[in-house]
């Protein structure tokens, strides 16, 4: 048991941005709230301020139908200016799937997305190798650890030019890569043709992270695994550590509320 009751620990506050066409907003919201020591709020894409937050989630889905290009229209939503400010001031921003595409289109992360090599939508569990665990999003994993997280996208074929690639590799900005069970980043293990099997990258400052796989979908054994918990645990323990000291934080992140008891069906806005 934690040495401090929950009320004494200030919850880590997540903001989930809802764009028209977002459809993993509720999943992210529910996942985050299943962690002891975390709370979440929705923000509408027309909101212009993001206050009182520790981490912003740009969720998956099809913002603006993914018409034209994935993320191309959403990045002009009024809230994106606030997201950029928030990141510039060191706030944590994580973009999942469509959220990652929005961050790319907005220039907050390097690179761009092509259609999957197979030109089809792919939804399945994949293996990811954690390349860098020294980011606020991955401290909960070991470096080189293989984790199982599902993907669900049609445009997740990551591209960056040669110079850009050299730079992100040198800076340790490649955070997760598609790999096989044993951690080899083979061509067969690459589900969409991404350059260098890249599944997720962060910015130079390490506070903005985008990935195509959906960690929020695997935070509960009952729906297929817990490989994604580490992402949220990392964020929560990092923020809590800064706020209250490392020991409490680790406990706060380690426990999970009874998910069946805490999540309602309604989606507060």
């Amino acid at each position: 048991m934690a040495a401090f009751s929950q009320t004494e620990v200030k919850p880590v506050r997540f903001g989930v941005v809802v764009f028209p066409g977002s459809n993993c907003d509720a999943d992210s919201y529910d996942a985050v709230r299943s962690f002891t020591g975390a709370d979440a709020r929705y923000f509408w894409h027309k909101d212009t301020g993001l206050t009182g937050l520790d981490c912003v989630i740009l969720p998956g889905g099809f913002s603006y139908g993914d018409y034209l290009r994935c993320g191309a229209i959403a990045r002009f939503s009024p809230i994106m200016a606030a997201v950029k400010n928030f990141a510039d001031e060191g706030g944590l921003v994580i973009g999942i799937c469509n959220g990652f595409q929005i961050l790319l289109e907005a220039g907050m992360l390097p690179g761009a997305m092509h259609q999957n090599e197979g030109l089809k939508f792919v939804c399945k569990l994949v293996n990811l190798r954690v390349e860098n665990n020294e980011t606020p999003f991955t401290t909960g994993y070991e470096r080189g650890q293989v984790i199982k997280i599902p993907i669900a996208h049609r445009e997740g074929n990551y591209f960056i030019d040669e110079a850009g690639l050299a730079e992100i590799e040198a800076n340790g900005q490649v955070i997760v890569r598609y790999c096989d069970e044993s951690g080899e980043t083979t061509a067969e293990a690459n589900p969409n043709g991404s350059l260098g099997n890249i599944a997720g990258v962060c910015n130079k400052e390490r506070n903005v992270f985008g990935l195509m796989p959906h960690p929020e979908r695997v935070c509960d054994e009952i729906v297929g695994g817990t490989g994604g918990r580490g992402v949220f645990e990392s964020i929560i323990s990092g923020v809590a550590a800064e706020a209250a000291g490392a020991s409490i934080a680790a406990e706060a992140a380690g426990e999970m509320k009874d998910i069946l008891g805490n999540i309602g069906n309604e989606r507060p806005r």
Partner: protein
């Protein structure tokens, strides 16, 4: 030679992409833009010859365009 193929949604058919772009433009400071239609532009190289036009036409019908909901035009550019 090179073929340039222009594929557009058939008149009267809903074009959700065009519509969505059109609706988003004013917020970006572009007023008064209407009738946005999104289609495809395809370039390809093919062997020279008299039959080239016919071949491209067939390709469009069979593969490149969906004649049920799309119109197409093409031009041949000798290189």
């Amino acid at each position: 030679m090179k073929a340039k193929v222009y594929i557009t949604p058939k008149a009267g058919i809903l074009d959700p992409q065009g519509l969505t772009i059109e609706r988003s433009l004013p917020a970006l400071g572009f007023e008064g833009v209407t009738n946005v239609r999104v289609g495809k532009y395809i370039e390809l190289d093919l062997p020279d010859g008299d039959a080239a036009g016919e071949a491209v036409d067939k390709m469009c019908h069979k593969l490149l365009a969906n004649p049920i909901i799309e119109d197409f035009e093409f031009e041949l550019v000798p290189e």
